[in-house]
Point group: C2
Chain length 245, copies 2
């Protein structure tokens, strides 16, 4: 059954009204008819609803039942990544949304090959948010990942005040803790994890991170590309937090 | 420093001779010169070597030193996936190679949208193996993942004899074990993990798997697409096996 994330303006329990992109998707892409059912959810609740009318610009639906489900990780995770090419950002946003991340920050770092172009940022932000929404629906999550692009290095460092545990991906070294050890020895309610761009985190940036209390973490002995590392992190956290023993 | 996986024919210690694609890469893409250094490795060993001559069809190198490194997971992991589109297979092969998988099987399953076309298989196999080799080099592994494509469902089921622990990805259910629980309660030296195509594993296939001793495993409460599930599995295994506590 198809799933749509709706805004609170669409909800007038026991009725729902859908317009815009989702209207087009239900009517034209899925070719649904009267009495067809879909899942509808906002950030907190999920309903099964039935189509009661299809007009020229809206779908009306009625609640069949509310269902209880929880697809969210127990803790909030923000991945901050050095700015990379648009196609790679899109791939990462897709994977992270599906794997339960709550926020993604694209940061201008020293070794980012892609430089910011303010004129294109609005258009990009809309596109990225659309990818996140679709991946969220596909994965049956309810909360769409928040996305911040074109964030400066200075702004990123300030984010440390918003997170209990601030980490960065680092090459293997005997001095670095593994993610496994850290999760078992620290207390936290949310995590900020910094990953470098293709060419890695610079020496100056590493110094900044250490001085601001970010901890270097090893993600295994293999060298992971910048789009694989965020996926690795989210999968490892899900394994640790959601795997019943 | 650039890294190349070489065949044993290239090794005549303390000398090495490189021809073919890697010759082209060293000479034309990287524009290396005499005395430049590279990493060379076969399945077991890694050397730093220095270029001693560049001819019209070969690069000659001499050993500087052998280095000891281990980027392989402690256990062999084979991911078998329902046949999906070429681009998705390529993405999965790239990610899995980088994350330490030892083998990938593309299986004809009931809900595979892509049907096999024997005439194109040889060309595809060569391309997939090239992607695996490049991802292996990039990640600093030495062993290139083995790839089997166009494998029938019957052949896949027989693979159970080659693996200690045979698993398949299944939707969340209270009856299914988590991967975490399973890894802590079972003994194994290698793992075979079956993942469905986009539309999932069919009921008949689920029955076959259960009858052949494959165990259903939950990969968290979110619905993962077929190209994300293999990455999740490999990251979780690396986290569990390679994270020092």
């Amino acid at each position: 059954m198809q799933r749509y994330i709706i805004t609170n303006e669409s909800i007038a329990l026991p009725n729902f009204i859908i317009t815009g992109d989702d209207y087009y998707h239900i009517k034209t892409v899925m070719r649904m008819r009267l009495n067809d059912k879909v899942y509808l959810c906002n950030q907190e609740r999920t309903w099964i609803a039935e189509i009661t009318a299809i007009t020229n610009d809206a779908i009306l639906l009625k609640e069949v039942e509310e269902i209880i489900e929880n697809q969210e990780l127990p803790y909030e995770v923000c991945i901050a990544e050095g700015a990379v090419r648009k196609e790679k950002i899109e791939e990462v946003i897709d994977y992270l949304s599906e794997l339960g991340a709550s926020r993604y920050i694209s940061v201008q770092m020293e070794r980012s090959i892609v430089k910011s172009d303010a004129s294109k940022m609005d258009k990009k932000a809309i596109r990225y948010q659309k990818i996140a929404k679709e991946a969220t629906e596909q994965s049956h999550r309810k909360k769409v990942m928040k996305i911040d692009i074109n964030v400066s290095w200075k702004e990123l460092l300030k984010e440390k005040d918003n997170y209990d545990l601030c980490l960065f991906a680092s090459v293997q070294s005997d001095e670095n803790d593994s993610l496994k050890k850290l999760l078992k020895t620290r207390k936290y309610k949310n995590i900020l994890f910094v990953v470098g761009p293709e060419a890695g985190i610079s020496e100056k940036e590493t110094k900044d991170l250490l001085e601001n209390g970010f901890l270097p973490i090893t993600l295994g002995p293999r060298v992971l590309r910048t789009q694989v590392a965020p996926t690795y992190i989210m999968a490892a956290l899900s394994y640790e937090w959601e795997g019943k023993e």
